[in-house]
Amino acid sequence: MKVLVPVKRVIDANVKIRIKADNAGVETTNVKMSMNPFDEVAVEEAIRLREAGTAQEVIAVSLGVARCQETIRTALAMGADRGILVETDVELEPLAVAKLLQAVVEKEKPDLVIMGKQAIDGDCNQTGQMLAALLGWAQGTFISKLAIGQGTAEVTREIDGGLEMLSLKMPAVVTVDLRLNEPRYASLPNIMKARKKPLERLLPEELGVDVAPRLVTLKVEEPPKRQAGVKVANVAELVDKLRNEAKVI
């Protein structure tokens, strides 16, 4: 079995973001970038499938600027076998990403695509579902458990009311939630080894995909700020404030 894992380069989850002075977007120059945390979980799951002998090859794919190579190298250092970068300076929307991934899937013919359920920058939560639709494949979204059966993927999904178990016909796309696994850290020897692993570069034009945006971001603004309130000394004061000042209980 061959597994494809898309990985996205995003502002590190621990960085406090800054909005550009002209409100055109969020500042990314001189900001620490990392792999989207959900994608780390996806990479980890793919590697575990290979370690268990269920999968034979894990391919990490990233789409975007040349420096997305770093994100692919991180996946390779974690244990992915090879990488593919689809290089473009266009700010890609989920639909364009899904179309590019569709082209990569048609080229590589994986049995399973494992990806993050959302990226922590755009918070869109779209790409996996779109990819599954474009391919005409089954989808298992927001999964916290994955087991490969005979031509099926058995998934447990985290839904609003609790958990849902589905059986997906393979090939399939699954999108992962954070509780699926605990991603490993790449060891130094593996980081060194990752530098020698193959990384192929492609262009959207070579894949025949139009990546022009459909949405225009008119501006990006600060949300309304909440002010810190008061400290209360004890429970009696708290209940009094809630009853008589805020009037919420």
Partner: protein, 311 residues
């Protein structure tokens, strides 16, 4: 203009987030239709027909739609979407699962989790865990949107009298099969619609200790939530999680107990009207956004709070 709202339901009842989505649809304007997709769900369609402002109810009632599998629901929504300028669904795990599949079928962008409507083609949506708000304009002929429930009031469930009409089926795609659901059963209000929410974090120490929160929740008629740390630690199930990747809540009162206040948690609750933080660490970031902070040990505070509420 005509707007189609995809209703979320369990074949018996309409989920409340649908009513918030109807309000968002009303702000866009034009004729409003609701689509009910499921099996043996005519009562849901009849309830949808009574929602104020709804002009038509479309009903797709088929065995293969019973479990709302995205692979079967999406083609059906897409087959109807071309008659509408906007297609909206709640930004719940249901809407998030189905709608991008519809968008891909229609070759249009999706605008996720909108919290405001500026005009028929311009919408406000939170990005970066709500640390920024993007104003985006769509160039697509069909605007495909998921709606953040807490950002719009619920439409009145009564007052309308729309006709219910059946729509043609698009078939079973045979790609996925429902196995089972394990749903949390609770007598307490649902997290996203409760007026009061009390949440526990890692500081709760164990799942058993959540009983302390439940006692207070029952006195206040509140829902119980949790931070990701508490869910990851196995104290409570995933459906308790409030935050960027869990549930978004905006109750009148949010009580955060033993929660430090990571930005991913704040993303899910910072639009609450009044926030109370109880944490023994005086430096915890949660205090920076709390209206009332009590820096004390939660194991002392919670029993005392239960007593005080009885007075």
């Amino acid at each position: 203009m005509a707007v189609l709202v995809v209703a979320e339901h369990d074949n018996t009842e309409i989920k409340p987030a649908t009513l918030n989505t109807v309000t968002a649809a009303g702000q866009i304007g034009g004729e409003l239709a609701i689509l009910v997709v499921g099996h043996n769900c005519r009562p849901v369609a009849e309830a949808a027909a009574k929602i104020a402002g709804v002009g038509r109810v479309l009903l797709a009632d088929q065995p293969h739609l019973e479990h709302h599998l995205a692979e079967n629901v999406a083609p059906l929504v897409a087959s109807l979407a071309r008659d509408y300028s906007h297609v909206l669904a709640p930004a719940t795990t249901y809407g998030k699962n189905v709608m991008p599949r519809v968008a891909a079928d229609l070759d249009v962008a999706q605008i996720s989790d909108i919290s405001g409507i500026e005009s028929a083609d311009t919408f406000i949506r939170p990005i970066y865990a709500g640390n920024a708000l993007a104003v985006v304009q769509s160039r697509d002929s069909i605007k495909l949107i998921t709606v953040r429930g807490t950002a719009f009031d619920a439409a009145p469930a009564e007052g309308g009298s729309a006709a219910v009409e059946s729509v043609p089926d698009t078939g079973d795609q045979g790609l996925s099969r429902f196995v089972k659901q394990d749903l949390s059963v609770s007598e307490r209000p649902e997290l996203t619609t409760a007026h009061i929410v009390i949440s526990g974090g890692r500081g709760m120490g164990s799942g058993e200790n959540f009983a302390l929160l439940e006692t207070i929740a029952d006195k206040l008629g509140a829902a119980v939530g949790a931070s990701r740390a508490a869910v990851d630690a196995g104290f409570v199930p995933n459906d308790y999680q409030v935050g960027q990747t869990g549930k978004i809540v905006a109750p009148d009162l949010y009580i955060a107990v033993g929660i430090s206040g990571a930005i991913q948690h704040l993303a899910g609750m910072k639009d609450s009207k009044v926030i109370v933080a109880i944490n023994k660490d005086e430096e915890a970031p949660i205090f920076q956004i709390a209206d009332y902070g009590l820096a004390a040990d939660l194991f002392d505070v919670l029993p005392e709070l239960a007593k005080e509420l009885d007075k």
